[in-house]
């Protein structure tokens, strides 16, 4: 069995007096897209931030391609090819779209072909190339956040709620962009509340509740089992279509 791209084992994370992650364990297989689902407050964002090294695990281990990264500083993890799109998008509002992208391309000016490919995914970015990122709409900011993460080839892409607060047309654009991304050899882990988005794209799924993983499996199986959805997520697929 090939080594997973990402493996968490018994991960515990505390923030102040709160014990948020309580022994999280799951694996993200190489290639494809894994969805991390769960109710509000289940610990999904904390899980991504712990993987990224932004919050430290107090116990357990995080391994990226077999390498223990639990104590690795965030910049070192990024240099291993792990990119992160936070829930608040983390764009630099006082910088132009171009400057945001240039900063993300650590190896030097972005490769022209790659840039054209990114523009193909998110055409609005070409139009607003020299505009201040802070002046973009919410959807355009989200496009920039994802585009920035993929301006160079990455091994693992961590994305926190890419459709949060977006209009349906922008969500459709996001779905298409992630479909295209799946065709590359980047492994993607997405935290998402939009079940339709999750079922459209997810190959595998992990579901969190109260700081623990309560289910892992194929996304298609969860999508087909309304009872399981109801039990794990407190929703029915119909309600989200």
């Amino acid at each position: 069995m090939p080594e997973p791209m990402l493996a968490l084992s018994g991960v515990n994370t505390r923030i102040g007096q709160y014990h948020i992650l309580q022994g999280v364990a799951f694996e993200v297989p190489r290639g494809g897209l894994t969805m991390l689902l769960g109710r509000n407050g289940a610990g999904k964002t904390t899980c991504l931030r712990t993987i990224m090294g932004l919050w430290r695990a107090s116990a357990g281990s995080v391994r990226v391609e077999g390498r223990d990264t639990t104590r690795l500083p965030t910049p070192e993890l990024a240099r291993l090819g792990v990119a992160y799109v936070p829930e608040n998008m983390g764009i630099f509002a006082g910088l132009t779209v171009r400057e945001n992208m240039l900063l993300a391309a650590r190896a030097g000016p972005p490769d022209e072909k790659r840039l054209e490919w990114v523009f193909g995914l998110f055409p609005a970015l070409r139009k607003f190339w020299n505009a201040l990122a802070g002046n973009l709409s919410g959807g355009q900011k989200q496009m920039l956040a994802v585009a920035r993460a993929i301006i160079e080839p990455r091994r693992l892409l961590l994305v926190d709620e890419p459709t949060k607060g977006l209009a349906p047309a922008i969500v459709a654009n996001m779905i298409e962009a992630f479909r295209e991304l799946k065709r590359t050899d980047t492994t993607i882990l997405v935290v998402e509340q939009n079940f339709q988005f999750a079922t459209s794209l997810g190959d595998s799924v992990a579901v969190m509740d109260s700081g623990r993983i309560v289910h892992t499996g194929a996304m298609a199986d969860l999508a087909a089992d309304e009872g399981l959805q109801q039990r794990l997520l407190g929703l029915s697929l119909d309600a989200h279509q």
């Binding site: 910049p75 990024a78 990119a83 936070p86 900063l103 993300a104 020299n130 505009a131």
Partner: protein
């Protein structure tokens, strides 16, 4: 679609100067006050620009910033006294040949102290504002006393370069030569900082770090190194500003850094935390207003700056050029 420059704060500087003209009622006096105000603003900018970046990038409230101003002034004065002969020569070249090593000494000593201070005092209290206030205030007091130990507790006279003493006479207006130099040096520092911040990758990183340090780390950059570099650069600028201020005042005391800190904080707040452009405009406004009110209503001189801060914050609560966060 290029981002538009916000001209309103810059126009405010011209507006304040224009509004003062009928109040002063004498064009030569107004010109003298205006140049004095601009020169004062430039020196405040040099001293404050490092602090605003440290505030913005590192979220550190460094009340000990005044130490770097004082120590720079003392280091420069030591060199200037040793080169007294060149300072008293009539030749501008000889004067500048003495001032250049003095400024270099100030920059070096303040920079080294800044590096040590970041490592020993600031680093253990990142993210803890109350502790930052306490330890940096403590650091300020300790270093003030150390200055007294090394250089003595008395005021020291600073020799002003001979060629820069006296004034240019422009019509009926007298414009101090040294103030013209201060304006030139201040503009050069601002231009260098503007170019660095807006035309280089390092500048982009600093601007991005001021907005969201965590995201800069997530992109693979070691923000801690950037912190240290900016802190040291800010200390160097404070040392240079302290040197210019010492030559302007023609005397130094161990408390000089602490005394200008009130004005520096006002400038940093008016400009918008982390904004170098805002700091520049804020410093010019403070310098001009201090000179106009010092002439028109001397008792209002310090109060006018606080009033200016209140008015600016009522208009723009995050300062003249708020840094997007």
């Amino acid at each position: 679609m290029k981002p538009r420059f916000d001209w309103i704060p810059l126009a405010l500087v011209a507006l304040v100067a224009a509004a003062a003209l009928p109040l002063v009622a004498s064009a030569p006096i107004w010109l003298t006050l205006t140049v004095a105000g601009l020169a004062m603003g430039m020196m405040i900018f040099m001293m404050a620009s490092g602090l605003t970046l440290v505030f913005g990038l590192m979220d550190v409230m460094n009340f000990a910033h005044g130490v770097f101003i004082s120590i720079g002034a003392y280091a420069a004065t030591s060199v200037l006294i040793a080169l007294r002969g060149a300072m008293h020569a009539d030749s501008l070249a000889a004067n500048l040949a003495a001032m250049a090593p003095a400024a270099a000494a100030a920059i070096a000593v303040s920079g080294i102290l800044g590096w040590l201070f970041e490592r020993v005092v600031i680093r253990p209290v990142y993210g803890e504002h109350l502790k930052q206030i306490l330890v940096t205030m403590g650091g300020l007091i300790v270093f003030e006393q150390l200055i007294k130990v090394v250089w003595g507790p008395d005021m020291i006279a600073v020799p002003r370069p001979q060629a820069l003493s006296g004034s240019f006479i422009l019509g009926q207006a007298a414009i101090e030569r040294y103030r013209v130099l201060a304006v030139v040096v201040g503009l050069a520092v601002f231009a260098a900082m503007w170019l660095l911040l807006n035309r280089t990758r390092l500048g982009m990183l600093i601007r991005a770090g001021v907005e969201n340090a965590e995201m800069v780390e997530s992109l693979g950059y070691r923000i801690r190194r950037l912190f240290v570099g900016v802190f040291v650069a800010g200390s160097c600028l404070a040392g240079l500003g302290g040197t210019m201020w010492a030559l302007y005042q023609e005397s130094i005391t161990a408390q000089m850094g602490m005394q200008v800190m009130v004005v520096i904080f006002i400038v940093v707040i008016i400009g918008g935390l982390g904004s170098v452009g805002g700091c520049f405009i804020g410093a010019l406004l403070v310098g001009l207003l201090a000179n106009y009110t010092g002439y028109l209503a001397p008792k209002l001189a310090l109060g006018s700056n606080i009033l200016l801060m209140v008015l600016v914050l009522m208009w723009r609560p995050r300062g003249l050029y708020p840094v997007g966060r």
